[in-house]
């Protein structure tokens, strides 16, 4: 039975490139997919595009393409990526310029568009916001972007038409991998879409499958942790597949790493909603057939919902965060005093934050529930006291952090303050009819 080998080239907008290049050099792969868009990345990219129409694509695009394109040509590997972000057209042009400069004549670059539905938002006033259930029409904060998570269609079409490089904006992460599988095998059933979605789901986070986000020394060790390789999926026409990594790279691919990644960002394993199907991972099985080589079976799928999820980016607020360090005895009392003083100063000067958070790094900052565990506080030698505030302007969060931190009127032995401030671009979700979206594929050739 025919098999296709796909490399997971990135799982994050600023992911390492070297492991991806190793896959291209030594992995005997047919495709490499670079997943580079987190939930909010595209809203930030849209802001960049508004400021400069030539920007708004992934900031690492040039660097990646300069290294990836020559190898892709040499090894005959097709490249698929969502690095187009908010500006697929410009990402295509930049890729063409690099290919031309490198003398890669004949390279065909495709761009998949249609995910940007910002101009259609007026239609959705009566649709509930997915997270809150409130009517979208009642939402008053300034909107900056709206992008639908597209499926595999544009990618498969681009490959059907001979594209060597496919650049998309927002699409379901797994679709980057499902696209080439549909193109290669002509899959046209929800069952196969479900199997292909699992390939994508396991692969889309690069080293999360191969020992990243996993190692606990002495408990779950990972060989050559410093050099964790990225994953390869070897997929058969019947949807059975193996995941593995390069022998020359560090890392680990076994039932444990695969099971962790299977459940990563999954709610009901029997109902994983995607643009192309409702994938069912509840019967998935992993079998270690050799060291660092796992056979994956048992995924299936049901008909899709007919809705696309749209991420709407909006300007929410401003956040200020400050930290100072304390060590020695009675740090808890000193932190409590410091926090209490901040509240009193906000009160006295009429500058109460919309929302605030006091926490102690080293004690309860990640999970406040640590307080219930009755640790002996004298056994904790040092901590950092953290104050986070939210308000409706940069000026206001700066003032609030200032008020919380009078430079010299601090508790005994407090280290100097570090502080940072940012505008918050937040995301809400809508479910819109797929029929509202018109997927278009454009081609350019060097």
């Amino acid at each position: 039975m025919r098999t296709i080998r796909i490399g997971g080239g990135a799982g994050f907008s600023e992911d390492d490139l070297e492991p991806a290049l190793d896959l291209m050099k030594y992995g005997d792969i047919d495709y490499i997919c670079f997943e580079c868009l987190a939930e909010r990345t595209i809203a930030i990219a849209q802001q960049q595009k508004l400021a400069n129409p030539r920007k708004g694509y992934n900031a690492g695009l040039e660097f990646r393409m300069e290294h990836v394109l020559p190898l892709a040509r040499e090894k005959g590997i097709k490249v698929i990526t969502n690095m187009g972000a908010a500006n697929v057209e410009r990402a295509m042009e930049v890729t063409m310029e690099i290919a031309a400069r490198l003398g890669l004549t004949g390279l065909k670059v495709a761009g998949v568009m249609g995910d940007d539905v910002f101009d259609k938002l007026d239609r959705y006033k009566d649709i509930p916001i997915f997270e809150t259930g409130e009517r979208f029409g009642g939402f008053k904060k300034p909107l900056v972007s709206a992008n639908a998570y597209l499926g595999f269609e544009g990618i498969a079409e681009a490959l059907d038409n001979g594209a060597d490089v496919v650049i998309t904006g927002r699409c379901a992460d797994a679709a980057l991998f499902l696209g080439p599988l549909v193109h290669e095998f002509g899959w046209n059933t929800y069952e196969m879409y479900g199997k292909g979605t699992l390939v994508g789901h396991l692969m889309e986070c690069s080293s999360y499958l191969t020992g990243g986000y996993f190692c606990i020394p002495g408990k779950s060790d990972v060989e050559d942790f410093w050099n964790i390789g990225f994953p390869i999926a070897e997929v058969s026409e019947d949807g059975t597949f193996f995941v593995t990594k390069l022998d020359r790279a560090g890392g680990r691919v076994d039932v444990q790493t695969c099971t962790e990644q299977l459940l990563y960002e999954i709610h009901d394993p029997a109902s994983y909603l995607t643009p192309n199907c409702v994938a069912d991972f509840s019967g998935v099985r992993f079998e270690e057939v050799a060291k660092n080589r796992v056979k994956v079976t048992g995924a299936t799928g049901r008909p899709a919902t007919g809705k696309y999820k749209v991420s709407v980016g909006y300007k929410d607020s401003y956040v200020g965060i400050s930290e100072l360090g304390l060590c020695g005895l009675r740090w808890k009392e000193r932190c409590d005093l410091y926090f209490e003083a901040a509240e009193k100063r906000w009160q006295a000067y009429g500058e109460k934050p919309e929302e605030h958070q006091f926490s102690i790094i080293g004690y309860n900052s990640i999970c406040r529930d640590a307080e219930h565990m009755n640790f002996d506080l004298t056994q904790i030698p040092e901590v950092r006291a953290r104050i986070a505030v939210r308000a409706d302007s940069m000026q206001r969060v700066k003032r609030q952090i200032e008020l919380a931190n009078p430079p010299l009127s601090c508790p005994a032995g407090a280290s100097i303050l570090t502080a940072n401030f940012k505008e918050v671009l937040a995301i809400l979700s809508l479910l819109i009819p797929c029929t509202d979206v018109n997927i278009r594929v454009f081609y350019r050739e060097v």
Partner: protein, 99 residues
């Protein structure tokens, strides 16, 4: 015994929802974990962190449970004031549970 002795775990995020997997290193411990680590107990364990409900899914063939924790990330990854906006570290907090 701590959960960390017999199970491993990974956290994922979607919006304001956190999911934490709990996977037995050895299948023979799955039934024990399934019996002891109920959705109610996980909700109680994260009582200051998770404001919504906790739902548990079971994958016996993998020796794995998946806990979906609603209203768990301080308003969502893109908004939260939390130091760990994605809740990436919560898995290791769950593993501190006595069993």
């Amino acid at each position: 015994m701590k959960l960390a002795d017999i199970a491993h775990s990974r956290t994922g995020d979607k919006g304001n929802i956190s999911n934490v997997s709990l996977i037995a290193y050895n299948r023979k411990n799955y039934d024990l974990i399934r019996e002891k680590v109920t959705a109610e107990r996980v909700k109680e364990w994260f009582r200051d962190k998770v404001r919504g409900k906790v739902v548990r899914y079971e994958l016996p063939q993998l020796g794995a449970l998946n806990f979906v924790m609603y209203d768990a990330l301080g308003g969502g990854v893109t908004k939260t004031l939390d130091i760990d906006p994605h809740g990436k570290a919560l898995s290791q907090f769950l593993l501190m549970m006595d069993i």
